[in-house]
Symmetry: C2
Subunit: 224 residues, 2 copies
Amino acid sequence: MTSRPQAARTRKPPGERRAEILHTAARIALDEGLERITLRRVADELGVRPGLIGHYFPAADDLVSEAFAHAAAQERDTLLPPGSHEADRSPTARLAGFLVRLTGADCLDLSRLWLNARHLSRFKPGLRATVREQESLTRTALTGLVEEGVRRGEFRTDDPLGATLHILVTVDGLGAYANDDIDSGSNGESNGDDLNHPALQDLALTVAEHRLALTPGLLRAAAI
Amino acid sequence: MTSRPQAARTRKPPGERRAEILHTAARIALDEGLERITLRRVADELGVRPGLIGHYFPAADDLVSEAFAHAAAQERDTLLPPGSHEADRSPTARLAGFLVRLTGADCLDLSRLWLNARHLSRFKPGLRATVREQESLTRTALTGLVEEGVRRGEFRTDDPLGATLHILVTVDGLGAYANDDIDSGSNGESNGDDLNHPALQDLALTVAEHRLALTPGLLRAAAI
DNA sequence: AGCCTTATTGGTCAGATGGCCAACTACGTG
DNA sequence: CACGTAGTTGGCCATCTGACCAATAAGGCT
């Protein structure tokens, strides 16, 4: 047999190895949760020994924090791409895309991750700080989008920050149910159907349209 | 010495002991989080041996689920007392009291608990079912309050359930920030001040007034 | 009073976790 | 080619967790 129990010991430059660990940890966080980020778990995934992970992250909590930051930033760049090279798309289209995709079913992992981080930050001060930073970044990005929309005359509000906060509270509120499996209906006393209430489907869009003085249905229509 | 290392072995009727365990576990959950509910932790608190807790709850997850249900139900009865003996208070006053107290700082523990349970339910099927039940109970109670308000002519809406869901989404969204310590401002790049934005202070009240066609400020004024 | 059910104890066990450290070796440097 | 830095290994440890079980004794019953 050519494959021995111990894989070939490959030696990588610290920066690359560190990035590799972070990337793996972020994926685990999105797939299975932040508490599944464990020295052994990451090591197994990478085919290295647990001690190596501990070498790059002497405090395991730091790995968790940075992995969350990595995942959150990556998802944010996808959902709310920074302005410069997106200047051609209208703020309305960008906001619609952001909200529609964010509250869509394919983004459940992200909602779960935020729920995860917000709770876990109760016990981990480092993660708490990271969560606040990521919240701040999202808030700033969305506020910028709203302000640009106001400048272009697409949105109308006297309080861009207030509108942003309201929209985000709504998004986070919808995200609170990310772990309720939707498909467990047909339960007589269950509440499975309530979460499919039409008022909830487009709630984030409705709130945004209300706060930004848009005609109802505009955002849904603007979503590609 | 009159106090020996082993306390007097007291034997209690099963029902009483079980209730005692549940009460203690619920308090731990509210104070420190659901993951702090541990056989040993509860046993220490009660001055008994860990094995005894395991005897009453052969599956530790069931203790967690029931403790959450206990805490959630207790808090709900406080914030949203069932109708009969509260029929004298107007729906407006009851709704205002519910929202003001719920989003108040003294209710942080409750928000944290829900955040905790919603995340933890990702890994514990039993807890997931319990969370859904408790959500359903709160939803039913609030919907009943809204419908009564509509009957009395205090509220106006064609979709009581939709209004209830919207209000609860907003409450849950605000609760998402329960673990961000508010008092860490004066941080140049921090977002501590954003959470003190005036639009957030009364957001739940504002949404409720909007959905129920109430004059702005009415609920704040109706809160005792 | 004695008995008998069972609440309660005390101990063990396996599994998982983070942290630590000496030894090994891959790889760039001289 | 030899050397030495440092990336990597393998192993050990303390700690915490839930689960399990035989032995004990408390308290109600006859």
